[in-house]
Every structure is written in C-alpha cells, then in structure tokens.
C-alpha cells in the first residue's frame, strides 16, 4: 500500500549511499525540490518525447527521394513561401513594437494641419536615429509578407496541396490571408496622411453598404460614419492588440496542422 513507508521513497538515503559528484548531487536536490512541488515526473514523458523530436531524422525530401538534386535547384523556392511570410511577420512584429515606442494615435481630424499621429510619424522619419530605416523595414516586411502569402496560396492551389486531409488548413489559410490584408489596411491608416484618410473613407463606405448590419459595422470598426479620432484609435488597437493575438494564434495552428499532417508531397 502507498501508506507504508518504503525504502525507495527515502530519497535522501538513496542519494547518500550512491557516490555522486557535487554537480550530480546539486542537480538531484534541485530536481527533487521541484518534483515535490510541481510533479515533474508526470511531465517526464513529454520531455523525453521532446528530446527525440529535437533529434529527429527529417524524412527524405522529394528531391532526395526521387534523385532530383541534380535536375532542379535543391530548395524548391516556392515551397519556402510559407516560412518566408512567417519570417516577414516576425520582422514586422519586432520593428512594429519598436515603432510603437514613438508613435501616438492621437488628435485625428482632417483639416490639413499635421495631427499628433502624423507628426509622430514625421518625427520617426526625420529626427529619430535610424527611424526612417525602422519604418522602412516595417513597411517592407509587411509588403513582403502579403506578397509571400498571396504566392503561397497560389503555390498551394496549383500543386493541389489543399486536397483531402488538408481542407481545414486551406480555410484557416484563407482566414489568415484576409486578416493579413486587414492588418495591412489598419496599418495603412495609422500615419493619417492624405492616402490614409481617403482609404479610410472608402472603408467606411464599404462598411456602410453592407445590408442590415452596415451601420453597426461602421460604428464597430470605424467608430462612426465619418473619420475622427475614434477611427484612428480603433485602427490602432486593431493593429497592435487584436490582430497580433489572433493572427499569431492562427499562424501557430496553421503551422501545427502542417506539422501534424506533413507537407503535401511536392512534385
């Protein structure tokens, strides 16, 4: 019974009767301390699994399997578009977080005078060290991500990689590409220059033209039927709070499913 005292449970005695180096002893003590509190044993199997996954042999790629190494470029560039867009997303996230230190989504109106938002972008580009480069990187990584996502979709379509077990991932991909464009759109509005303003105007009109739910949508997304401070602020929160969480989560699920199902065998 578990209630009886057993020798195996006398961990201290067990440690003393073995000849351990200082390092091993420290390690075991720490392990026991943590185990007693967090039940690490229960997770040991997971760790073991992880170890084997890290040291896993990758399956033969298509080029290896069919001996195509000498016929085509080894890394089929089109199959890298998905990871390329993920990389661009990470670059955009980092540069965007840095831009966020200096940008203020405030005092939006449309009188032709520079607003706080517009001035902060100008400051970033003209006064801040490497600010021009930072904004440039953010903008270009966003453009590149969108382009890569579009091309990725074409690649998946033309190689039939959306077929049977992968329908769900195709749908998630379509949600992701749409959200990427919403990301781009909300970011386009933030500098609050002429193009932002008029693109926003088109957005409000599109929202208003939805039957039945139009006015509600316009209120929700743009904070009214004309472009005001509320619009800018909502676009900002969408761009830096809601979308990053949703898109990052969906990307994780998207890649996780690819991991589980394997890459559709290329030709």
């Amino acid at each position: 019974m578990s209630l009886e005292k057993k020798d195996e449970h006398d961990h201290k005695g067990w440690m003393e009767e073995r000849e351990l180096t200082v390092l091993e002893e420290r390690y075991l003590t720490l392990l026991m301390w943590l185990d007693k509190r967090l039940r690490l044993v229960d997770y040991l199997e997971l760790l073991e699994d992880l170890y084997y996954k890290v040291n896993m042999q990758m399956p033969k790629s298509h080029t290896e399997q069919y001996g195509l190494d000498n016929k085509f470029w080894y890394w089929y560039p089109l199959y890298a578009l998905g990871s390329f867009s993920t990389i661009a997303y990470l670059v955009a996230a980092i540069s965007g977080a840095l831009l966020g230190f200096y940008y203020a989504p405030a005092a939006a109106g449309a009188t032709g005078d520079p607003t706080v938002a517009f001035t902060s972008v100008t400051t970033i580009m003209q006064d801040l060290n490497f600010g021009y480069m930072l904004r440039s990187i953010h903008r270009w990584s966003a453009q590149v991500m969108t382009a890569a996502v579009f091309l990725h979709m074409l690649r998946v379509y033309f190689t039939g990689a959306y077929k049977e077990p992968r329908e769900l991932n195709w749908i998630i991909g379509i949600v992701l590409i749409s959200l990427t464009m919403v990301f781009g759109y909300s970011g386009y509005l933030l500098p609050w220059n002429q193009l932002s303003y008029w693109a926003g105007q088109i957005g409000v009109e599109m929202a208003l033209s939805i039957p039945l739910a139009g006015e509600w949508t316009a209120q929700l997304l743009f904070g009214g039927f004309t472009l005001t401070q509320a619009t800018l602020q909502r676009m900002y929160i969408l761009h830096v709070f809601f979308l990053p969480f949703i898109v990052t989560g969906l990307i994780a699920v998207h890649i996780g499913i690819v991991w589980m199902q394997g890459i559709a065998e290329p030709h």
Binding site: F150, K163, L195
Partner: protein
C-alpha cells in the same frame, strides 16, 4: 491520540498532494465509468486505432526508408541560412526603397488618385462592378441593390468561392497536368485578380474605360482557355512519359 500513534504516512516530508493509489482509477476503469459523449469518444478512438492496425496488417504497403538529414544541426543550419537570406532581402529593400512622405489628412481636398495598398486593388476593383449590377424590369428598371452593396457582395462571393475549392475538387491528382480544368480555373483566377486590379486604377490606365472593362472579363477567359489547351496537350505529350515512373509508384485514383 498522541503524536506517537499517528501512522507514518509521509515518506520524505512530502506535500501530500499525490492521490492515494487505491482510490485512483486506472485508465480502463475510467473508461468504463464514463458516460455519454466521453464514452463515445473512447469507443471511437478504440475503433479507429483497431481500424488503423487492421489496415496496416492487411496492406502490402512497404514502409519507405525515410531517414534523411537529422533535424539538428543540418536542418536547423539550413533554416537559419534561409532565414538570414530572407531577412537580408527585406533589409536591402527597405534601405533602397524607403516609404515616401505624404501630406497630412485633409477632408476638404480630395486627391486626384485615391488608392489602397496594392494588395487591396482586387477588392477595390470589385467595388467598381456597377455596370454588371442588373436592373430588374420587375422593379421598374431600378437595381435590386446599390452598386456599392453589389461590390461588397462580390468580395464575399469570391472569398467564398476560394474557400469551397477543396470540397469541389477532390481526388488524388496534384499536378496541373493531372487536372487541366482546375489548373485553368486557377489561371483564370490569377488573371482576373490582375485585370480587376488594373480596373481599380482605371483613371491611371491610358485606355478607353469601356474597353478596359470588357478586357477585365475577357482576358481571364482567354488565359484560362490557353492554359487548358496547353495542359491538355502536355498531358498527352512528353511530360506524361517523363513521369510515368512516378505514376506507377502512386497511380492517380
């Protein structure tokens, strides 16, 4: 009850958060106890596992030797190389082509050219499909919905059509040569995305706008038919013989 009488329950001064053995149900007991949906889930999993095993045993399928590169360090180094190459590309682009400075927002002066970013041109172009919006005789020649509603609806229709592709096109065929029709549909879609993007910036295109509108819908069909013809002939042609070995390995269902 004195301290001496207390049975020695603790082994090494533990926290006692471990459930006692005799009360912890085993997995099979848990399975028997559960009811309803979780019971069904267990039963299904068991069936699915048995089915897998049966299939594995009765099939003549020989497992391929899939040993390739180890993930660490080979794959990781390759991935790092690719990543730094791509990041370098982005940095190069941003250093050479920085964004331009724009005038601040002004509601009283509409700019001559209003444009979203390039990746929204297709959606912007779909908003300009007013001429296709049918006016119904029943309603006295008036339109069923406003042109802009029609445009927003067109966006939804296109996204919806792309979404249901996997449920329309089934089967094991993967290459464009194996499925000329669906490849042609894809070429049609890509061309249409391109032409409708051009339509969205029609005030910048040096062409009669009616001609542009007609071409917007004509060119995708032309491109689609050409793609279909080419793929059909390729299917009969040398590609097919070139890949015969592959088809023997994995015949199309």
């Amino acid at each position: 009850m004195s301290d001496n009488d207390t049975p020695e329950t603790e082994t090494d001064g533990g926290t006692g958060i471990v459930p006692p053995d005799d009360e912890t149900p085993t997995w099979s007991e848990r399975k028997e106890r559960t009811e309803g949906l979780s019971r069904l889930t267990y039963e299904y999993f068991e069936r699915a596992r048995r089915e897998d095993q049966d299939l594995r045993q009765e099939s003549s399928y020989v497992e391929r030797d899939v040993l390739g590169f180890p993930a660490w360090p080979h794959e990781m180094i390759r991935n790092l190389a690719l990543t730094s190459f791509f990041v370098g590309m982005i940095v190069f682009l941003s250093a050479t082509l920085p964004p331009e400075m724009m005038p601040p927002a002004n509601s009283s002066s509409t700019p001559a050219v209003i444009l979203p970013d390039w990746y929204l041109y297709w959606s912007f172009g779909l908003l300009k499909l007013g001429p296709l919006n049918p006016d119904l005789a029943l309603l006295g020649g008036s339109k069923l919905m406003a042109d802009r509603t029609y445009g927003v609806l067109a966006n939804l229709v296109i996204v919806g059509a792309i979404t249901i592709v996997p449920f329309l096109n089934k089967g094991a065929a993967r290459r464009p040569v194996e499925q000329p029709f669906w490849a042609a549909v894809g070429v049609f879609g890509v061309t249409f995305a391109f032409t409708v993007s051009v339509l969205s910036v029609k005030n910048l295109v040096p062409m009669d706008s009616h001609l542009l509108f007609d071409l917007t819908f004509l060119l995708p069909f032309v491109a689609g038919f050409i793609a279909y013809a080419i793929l059909k002939s390729m299917r009969e042609g040398y590609m097919f013989t070139l890949n015969r070995r592959y088809y023997r390995l994995r015949p199309p269902k």
